[in-house]
């Protein structure tokens, strides 16, 4: 217990750093995969190739990538940017397939109707396709979030600080409490991020949360109409 109190400052600091390293890859993953996923869905012929390429990206092991990246992009070995960029690649690798599925799941009749009433292609993307792909995109980004937060720990092996530092050192000195702190801290960050993402989903996509009322409302409203018709 004493260890926890003595190291509270460091635990808090590494938690913030860990969280901070996790945010950019999640955002980059979303921002890059949306246009790639959209194109893969729009041009069906390209879909297989695109998904194969991102699949290969995900198969690259993370530790070697952290070490090789500096020589490719000219960063220092201990630069946190190596971790951020590597994890962004994984985020894109996971998200592109989901994004492509998200756009494929949008009802074609709705898109057709949107075109028919006079949405331009650009406007239709922003006001119709993207919001309607939203729920599936959100589910994908929640997976990316968890995956990124756990992978950030691996960066500790090459010396980029994160909560991974605790279980690395815990193993070295055989101190289970320290390992536990690393694991619990990572889980807490993942849960907090997930709650934030789910909350954003509720705020940005209010229509997805009214479904439960549907049956009740439909029954109540159908009745007067039938009476009128009769």
């Amino acid at each position: 217990m004493n260890w926890l109190i003595e190291n509270a400052g460091q635990i808090w600091q590494l938690t913030l750093i860990h969280a901070g390293l996790s945010v950019p890859p999640i955002i980059v993953g979303l921002v890059l995969s949306v246009p790639i996923g959209w194109l893969a869905n729009r041009y069906r012929a390209s879909r297989g190739t695109v998904l194969a390429i991102v699949g290969i990206l995900y198969a690259v092991p993370s530790l070697p990538l952290f070490l090789v990246l500096p020589s490719i992009i000219g960063t220092k070995v201990l630069d946190p940017a190596n971790v951020v960029i590597s994890l962004s690649i994984y985020a894109v690798a996971i998200m592109v397939r989901t994004a492509s599925d998200a756009f494929a799941a949008v009802d074609v009749d709705v898109l057709l109707a949107a075109t028919a009433v006079g949405f331009s292609t650009w406007r239709r993307f922003w006001s119709v396709e993207l919001p309607l792909a939203g729920p599936v995109l959100l589910s994908g980004i929640r997976v990316v979030s968890v995956s990124t937060i756990s992978l950030v720990s691996v960066g500790s092996v090459i010396g980029v600080p994160s909560l991974g530092y605790f279980f690395l050192r815990g193993f070295q000195v055989g101190f289970p409490l320290e390992i536990g702190v690393g694991i619990v801290g990572t889980i807490v960050i993942a849960v907090v991020f997930d709650l934030i993402l789910a909350g954003l989903g509720r705020v940005l996509m209010p229509w997805t949360h009214r479904r439960s009322r549907r049956t009740r409302v439909a029954i109540r409203d159908e009745t007067p109409e039938l009476v009128e018709a009769a």
Partner: protein, 292 residues
């Protein structure tokens, strides 16, 4: 007036959806395109607002060749209603109705006021304005679709099987509403259906299609019933059977009309004693489909 001149549409896969089609669609009338699926009627409808461009031929709206008009702008000036309403599931009812005005740059507040007025016009309670489409019944959704189609007060309204997915009672009601709206608002309506009863009920002009976008017959319901162009049309409209083939039978001094099954369909009246009897008893009977 909308005019098709020798319009042909061949899709990239080689399917000819429409073949050398010519037609004049008069203003402020309802023209119904009717045929089974694959007859090219929806393709023809979509060529009016350039959702589909013809392979050859000319389509004019009031003398303007549509191929010279900018598609997005053209579509915003024409009302469009489709089966399953095609509403935006992530927008509330009022915003759905206001879609096109908002696209055209009308202020949000003004668009909302107009949307609420349109809800009245199509018989929707204003309390539904802030619901999402999924919270409405099928019939209500179609009303929203019609209101959206009317939102910019277009001269032309295109309806693609708009009542195909609602139950018969609601459909009958929506059909009457459409007739009332057209009567009040004087729109040029082009209506696609595969239901010949609906076509005869709504159409001032009815166009019957065969497979592959060939026109079997064009005329008023009365003309088509009185003189089907060929066997296909006769069969399609069911002139030889059911409630369209009525016979006169004398019963208690009056002329009673019976259908091919011998069921009473109504009584025969002359113009003088029309007040005394209701002419056609059968519910969905078309205008003037009983012999005089």
């Amino acid at each position: 007036m909308i005019e098709f001149r020798s319009v042909t549409k061949e899709f990239p896969d080689g399917t000819v959806a429409v073949r050398d089609f010519s037609l004049v669609i008069p203003s402020r009338r309802i023209t119904v395109l009717v045929g089974s699926s694959g007859s090219g009627k929806t393709t023809i409808l979509r060529m009016i607002n350039r959702m589909v461009d013809p392979t050859s031929g000319v389509i004019e709206i009031d003398g303007n060749d549509v191929s010279t008009l900018e598609p997005v702008k053209l579509r915003r000036s024409i009302g469009y209603v489709m089966q399953n309403s095609g509403l935006l599931p992530h927008r509330k009812v009022a915003d759905n109705i206001a879609t096109v005005p908002l696209l055209r740059g009308v202020k949000r507040k003004d668009a909302r006021v107009r949307a609420l007025e349109l809800m009245d016009a199509v018989g929707l309670d204003r309390s539904l304005a802030d619901r999402y489409p999924s919270q409405l019944s099928g019939g209500q959704q179609q009303r929203v679709g019609v209101a959206r189609g009317l939102a910019v007060d277009p001269n032309i309204l295109l309806l693609d099987e708009p009542f195909g997915a609602v139950d018969p009672l609601v459909r009958a009601e929506l059909q009457q509403e459409l007739l009332r709206l057209q009567h009040d608002l004087d729109k040029t309506v082009v209506f696609v259906t595969h239901d010949i009863d609906e076509a005869f009920l709504l159409g001032h002009q009815v166009v019957i299609f065969k497979k592959g976008g060939l026109v079997a017959q064009v005329g008023t319901p009365q003309e088509i019933l009185a003189d089907p162009a060929d066997e296909f049309v006769a069969k399609f409209i069911g002139a030889d059977r059911g409630k369209r083939a009525l016979r006169v039978r004398s019963e208690a001094g009056r002329d009673v009309l019976v259908d091919s099954e011998g069921r009473a369909a109504g009584v025969l009246v002359t113009d003088d004693d029309e007040a005394g009897a209701v002419a056609a008893a059968s519910g969905a009977s078309a205008q003037g489909d009983q012999p005089r």
